[in-house]
């Protein structure tokens, strides 16, 4: 049996691994941090209907529409089919609306006109000067959950997933990939494999830059704001060419709003800027005039792995303006080295299938892709806390749940969801980390990490919450002052 090493434990990497595994190919997934540590854990949470891209990128739009339908059948455990609306304002030019309707129709995207009064009844707080409303099949994609479902599904079929393991370089023999060197906990080792897929998202340029050909990724960050309440249960889109601050997604108990698009050098997400958050609020006020008074939990950002058309461009397969797959041997690199860049969460399975076709072809495996039809099992229900005391009140996390996780603080936070609610760890961080060794250092780290997201939205009651958090830290708990 052939084995493929997949670099990157995000949606793309796991999608590729899953597709290959279903064809009978062995896979090893290598992730430098935690699963979901990259862009796939820092996105908007929208399972696109495709309507957003109908005008600007019809291929991507069609891909989204198809994948939307497929994912609802194969992964219902990670999707909330809330439906979405596109809203136009009186001041918007009606011309775009007409183009958009035509483009949706030709891409096969279901759009239904809606009564404004009915939409207002479902979505409180809308501006009074709306002119048009359409319903689409938008849904909410629970990214963390789907990644965990994928990891379990991959492991169940014998695939391996190594977290906190960094891919360092290819091992080649006679111009063919024979393995991958990886490093974890300061130790280097080689993993034997017949092909390597670089699915390192915004880091893909760093990882595959020396594999032959010019592989340039242009990282672009998008900032998102999390409101503390789920104000409504529909995805709300602005009926306008894709731009900043045009989508609201209800997620569990919160609402996520964004985004922006700013090019940057580094693949790492920086601290979100106040200017970006304020700009978002100003734009969003056009749809929800009271937006500045909605309580914000925090802002965060993710980095899009946009590819730059370089020398390799000619040898890549342009599947849409959305994602590309490179076979490095076509640019003088070793055989069996592949890179995939770009895409969306919504189309992760499609990307997996396309990469799977290419890689399976290289390996001489002729089983076709099955990821379109095989169900990904939902997660088992969270065990009830029983008589265990509550450790994090906002998210109802019990001490038993916290004690059940070993790993880094980030892992603990992402698994149990502690410190993720409205208080952002003010009243629970010391408690949860107090149960662990090395608590002081971890506590300082977690505080800085949480504050990074709260500060750019520190106005109104959000500012009061941050003031309280700091009083609790320094006055009640005596944490060292950070000034």
């Amino acid at each position: 049996m052939s084995t493929v090493a997949v670099i990157g434990g995000g949606a793309t990497g796991l999608g590729v691994a899953w597709d290959l595994l279903l064809r009978g190919v062995g896979v090893v997934v290598i992730e430098k941090d935690e699963i979901a540590g990259g862009t796939s854990g820092r996105f908007h949470g929208l399972l696109h209907s495709g309507a957003r891209y109908a005008v600007t990128d019809p291929v991507a739009a069609r891909g989204c529409a198809e994948e939307n339908a497929i994912l609802r059948t194969i992964a219902p455990g990670a999707i909330a089919g809330v439906g979405g609306v596109f809203l136009g304002k009186e001041s918007d030019s009606p011309e775009f609306g007409e183009r958009w309707l035509a483009a949706c129709e030709s891409a096969g995207i279901a759009v239904k006109p809606a009564q404004l009064a009915a939409v207002r009844a479902e979505i409180p707080g809308l501006a009074s000067d709306l002119a048009a409303a359409y319903r689409v099949q938008d849904a909410v994609l629970e990214g963390f959950r789907l990644l965990e479902m994928l990891v379990r599904a991959i492991q169940r079929l014998g695939g391996e997933v190594f977290e906190r393991t960094r891919a360092c370089g290819l091992v080649t023999e006679a111009g063919e990939v024979r393995g991958l060197t990886v490093e974890s906990g300061g130790e280097r080792r080689a993993i034997g494999c017949d092909a390597v897929v670089n699915a390192a998202g915004p880091w893909a340029g760093e990882v595959g830059g020396s594999w032959g050909g010019e592989l340039t990724v242009r990282p672009s960050r998008g900032t998102l704001v999390i409101f503390a309440n789920r104000h409504f249960s529909r995805v709300v889109n602005r009926l306008a060419p894709p731009g900043n601050g045009d989508i609201f997604v209800p997620h569990g108990r919160v609402l996520i709003f964004g985004t922006t698009d700013t090019g940057q050098e580094s693949p790492e997400p920086p601290a979100p800027l106040r200017e970006e958050v304020v700009e978002l609020i100003r734009i969003g006020q056009e749809i929800f005039p009271a937006l500045a008074r909605w309580r914000v939990i925090r802002a965060f950002n993710g980095v899009r792995p946009l590819y730059q058309r370089g020398e390799m461009w000619r040898s890549s397969r342009e599947l849409s303006r959305d994602f590309v797959v490179f076979e490095h041997s076509t640019a003088g690199g070793p055989k069996g080295a592949f890179s995939v860049i770009g895409g969306k969460w919504t189309t992760f399975r499609l990307i997996g299938e396309k990469v799977g076709d290419l890689v399976a072809g290289y390996l001489g495996v002729d089983r076709p892709s099955a990821s379109r039809v095989v169900r990904i099992d939902p997660l088992p229900p969270k065990p009830s806390g029983g008589s265990s005391p509550i450790a994090c009140e906002c998210e109802g996390v019990t001490s038993a749940e916290v004690e059940g996780v070993d790993g880094s603080v980030t892992e603990l936070r992402l698994r149990s969801w502690f410190a993720m609610g409205p208080c952002q760890g003010t009243f629970c961080a010391h408690r949860v980390l107090g149960m662990r060794d090395g608590a002081e250092g971890e506590l300082t780290g977690l505080r800085a990490e949480r504050e990074k997201g709260i500060l750019p939205a520190a106005w109104g009651d959000n500012a009061r919450m941050l003031s309280l958090q700091r009083s609790v830290r320094f006055q009640s708990l005596g944490e060292p002052w950070d000034g």
């Binding site: 304020v278 109104g460 009640s476 005596g478």
Partner: protein, 370 residues
């Protein structure tokens, strides 16, 4: 101006202390506030930084400080908050919910505070979220170099997950709770080697001193509490007792948001009510209390006076912003006290209590000079 009427806006620790100081000097006082203040968020131990009485922040002569602190202690005693009869010379050391030592100064006697941390046994109570006695005692031993051990007592009968500190405290204020404390808990603690035994701060709002006295007798060494986070039972005890004292002294409380203060010192509320007075004291807290609001651009403004007092760029700016002076108009008709006054840094210097007493004292001096 001893028989003048003073509006105190805010009923956090600063407003309550200001009202008591003024009433005891003969002023007619009324307390107007939108909501409760910050006392339920902290233990009610008044910090003075690590400098003790020797350093006098705010440029106040040491003897003035001493008088302010003594009067603060007297007010607490009159209100029924037990504090030591004599002021400590130096900052005392108390212990945080993490088990780490922290400087304090005027501290209610239910809470552990000593000049030098002593060998201590930490007791946890089943179901009290912040009580992690194993982690606390090891941190305490590490930070103080003093021996420390811990005990874990079971949860009380009838306990359910989700009981907060206030529910525990209500339970210990009942006879059943007291009985269980002195039997099951005392038994779980057993013989202790350390000098003091420390319990989580939930031993009743009303009957805590009785509970600690009995526990101390049974265990053969002094029993105290260590503070937890919000809601803080220590702060709630102080708040209830200070409000009780003021009620007894005939100070009326009004629930109202204050919109403005006119040139003479009278107050207009957001709902149009007017509170005539000869002076108004703004004890409206900083950003946390609502005394300052922060706009989208980060500008920090007092909504009552309209004055801008800073801008948030770093997180620390939030708790540092404030007026540079106490007497805002120079004629003692409008005075800012507590977190309204910048230049103090309770986050870094642990001088929250000093800020409260120091600014209230300066406000009174301005009124008296009028």
């Amino acid at each position: 101006m001893g028989d003048a009427t003073v509006n105190v806006v805010g009923r956090g620790p600063t407003g309550l202390f200001a009202a008591a100081f003024l009433r005891l000097r003969g002023y007619r006082v009324r307390v107007i506030s939108r909501t409760a203040g910050s006392l339920a968020l902290w233990g009610g131990e008044l910090g003075f930084g690590s400098a003790g009485l020797a350093g006098s922040p705010g440029g106040m002569p040491p003897e003035v400080w001493l008088a302010a602190w003594s009067e603060g202690a007297e007010i607490l005693l009159r209100a029924g908050v037990p504090v030591a009869e004599t002021l400590p010379e130096l900052a005392l050391s108390t212990v945080t919910a993490l088990g780490a030592p922290k400087p304090t100064f005027l501290t209610p006697l239910w809470q552990y505070a000593a000049c030098e941390p002593e060998p201590a046994c930490f007791v946890g109570l089943g179901g009290v979220g912040d009580a992690e006695p194993k982690a606390q005692s090891s941190r305490y031993a590490e930070a103080t170099g003093r021996p420390s051990s811990y005990r874990q007592a079971p949860p009380p009968p009838g306990w359910r997950p989700g009981w907060g500190p206030l529910r525990f405290a209500e339970f210990f204020d009942t006879d059943l709770g007291m009985e269980w404390l002195l039997s099951a808990v005392a038994e779980a603690v057993g013989a202790v080697e350390e000098e003091v035994v420390l319990f989580p701060q939930v031993l009743g709002v009303e009957r805590v001193m009785t509970a600690l006295g009995e526990l101390g007798r049974m265990l053969g060494r002094p029993a105290y509490e260590y503070p937890l986070l919000a809601p803080s039972i220590g702060g709630i005890r102080v708040e209830r007792r200070l409000v009780g004292l003021l009620n007894g002294l005939g100070v009326p409380f009004y629930r109202a948001g204050v919109a403005s203060v006119d040139g003479g010192g009278s107050v207009t509320a957001e709902d149009g009510r007017r509170f005539p007075g000869d002076a108004t004291i703004l004890a409206t807290g900083g950003v946390l209390g609502g005394g300052f609001t922060v706009d989208l651009e980060g500008w920090i403004t007092d909504p009552v006076t309209g004055e801008s007092v800073g801008r948030v760029r770093e997180a620390r700016d939030l708790n540092l912003a404030g007026y540079r002076r106490v007497d805002l108009r120079g004629d003692a008709t409008l005075l800012a006290v507590g977190s309204q006054v910048g230049g103090w840094n309770p986050d870094r210097d642990h001088n929250g209590g000093a800020m409260i007493l120091g600014t209230v004292h300066q406000a009174i001096a301005a009124l008296e000079a009028r």
